[in-house]
Amino acid sequence: MSVIVAILQAVLLVAAAPLVSGITRKIRAKMHSRTGTDIFQDYRDLAKLWRRCEVREGGSGLVSRAMPPVFLGSFVLIAAGLPLFMQACPVPILGDIITILYLMALPRFMFALASIDSAGSYTAIGGVRELLVGVLVEPALVLVLFVMAVAAGSTNTGFMAAATGSLQAQPLVAVVVAGVAFAMACYIEMGKLPFDLAEAEQEIQEGPLAAYSGPSLAMLKLGVSVKQLVVASLLVALFLPFGAAVDASPAAVLAGMLAYGAKVLVVMVAASIIENAVMRVRYKLLGRYTWFVTGIALLSLVFLVIGI
């Protein structure tokens, strides 16, 4: 049963990612007083790219070729292991926070490596910036996940979800503050304004996308939307597991699935409204915001230590 849920999660997340991305695009268009494209436009874009032939930059090697599948595959793997529909991990070995953190670091590493591999200066700058975001956001993510691990008594996200869901994660204030810090860190990790515009390859941070075409670009575009969905799902799974199935009966899992869909949609819509309500900041100022998030994560750690 749990393996079926894992595969279902992965397939559903990949299938729904372009739709969610289309909805956020539609919201952006509406907030800019434009009509915008249809919410299913991303599917058509991906299908079109998939049919095109692949063009590679001269001199690019194996890393460039391997990056798109690794990028997409890592996030699909995370999606399979998270406690999304149930308050337990369908595949416990994939649901450990250490595994998840490394699975999130792997695509970033490959992304940066591919950006140098294609030998373009434009793509290399993009790769460096992507790494910078990682370096600045990961301390906050690690701190928050550490707080949750101590509060729940396990590094497994399934146990964390169960502990939060039954309000057993103590101390309460530390968990709430950690949730706030995690939501902010996730927002930055999603690659949204004011820091980044993930789906726009002309933005410098996603520079490496400029070196891809055809099926590879389709995989990367899909990967970027799956990444946004996975990051939002991580927040929902750890801090808002209410409504997810407590046992593994099919009816409960189905109810959990519907609850998950509603929660993640709310998170994504909120994120896209915030994104369109802010201006773009200069790249140098990114550190200020991430320091703020790290500060809040540190506060939650202190609350954990003093026990409130």
């Binding site: 309460l172 506060l299 609350f303 230590v305 409130i308």
Partner: protein, 218 residues
């Protein structure tokens, strides 16, 4: 959830609200947030009164509501209105506000380490809140040190004062009202004096920047 855990949760809310006071961009927002913080303080006093069965604490919370939630913010907002366009009140702080959050976290931790050495029967259950109240002294000090605007430095004093109020309530819940007036209520006069000073300085020097005001000496 009730009893001492509730007091501790409210103590954590005190830290969060005082951080918001320190981070507030405008003096107006800081005054409103200070009012919110005092409301949490009143809740702490009232819940502590319910837990310890001390009737004095209820009287304290009533006086704290009148002075800190209503009067002090009203005085500060009135001062802000009086200053008007005579000087800029919303100067950016010296320390990057984002880093001050980390600083507050470190202060709370250090205070917890300091408090864990205290071994009093009343303090055992509410040790986190005791750490929070002690930390308020340092948060207030931080506010005074990092703020450039002398108007916002008043909030530093107010935060320190709130901290001492909570410490008193935690360690001596049965203390009579007279003690509370001596320790906590008299702060309102200090705030009035500070507010008048700020207003006079704004009128005289046309600036509230502490760095510029150094030239007043001698």
């Amino acid at each position: 959830m009730f009893g001492y855990p509730l007091v501790n949760v409210l103590g954590a809310c005190l830290i969060i609200t005082s951080m918001l006071v320190v981070l507030a961009r405008t003096g107006r927002a800081a005054a409103w947030l200070y009012s919110l913080q005092s409301l949490v303080l009143v809740a702490v006093l009232a819940s502590l009164g319910a837990v310890t069965g001390s009737t004095e604490l209820f009287t304290w919370s009533a006086t704290a509501f009148a002075t800190k939630v209503v009067l002090v913010p009203a005085i500060l907002l009135f001062t802000l209105k009086k200053i008007g366009d005579e000087a800029r009140t919303d100067l950016p702080p010296k320390l990057n506000p984002m880093k001050s959050v980390a600083l507050v976290a470190v202060e709370v931790f250090v205070c917890f380490v300091a408090v864990s050495g205290i071994d009093l029967p009343t303090a055992a259950e509410v040790r986190p809140t005791l750490a929070v109240s002690l930390a308020h002294f340092f948060i207030g000090l931080t506010c005074i040190v990092i703020q450039r605007s002398i108007f916002k430095q008043i909030f530093g004093y107010c935060l320190m004062e709130n901290g001492s109020h909570v410490t008193l309530a935690l360690l001596a819940p049965q203390a009579p009202e007279l003690v509370e007036i001596g320790v906590a209520t008299d702060a309102i006069f200090a705030v009035i004096i500070l507010a008048v000073l700020v207003w006079r300085m704004a009128r005289y020097a046309r600036t509230l920047d502490a760095d510029d005001l150094c030239e007043l000496k001698g």
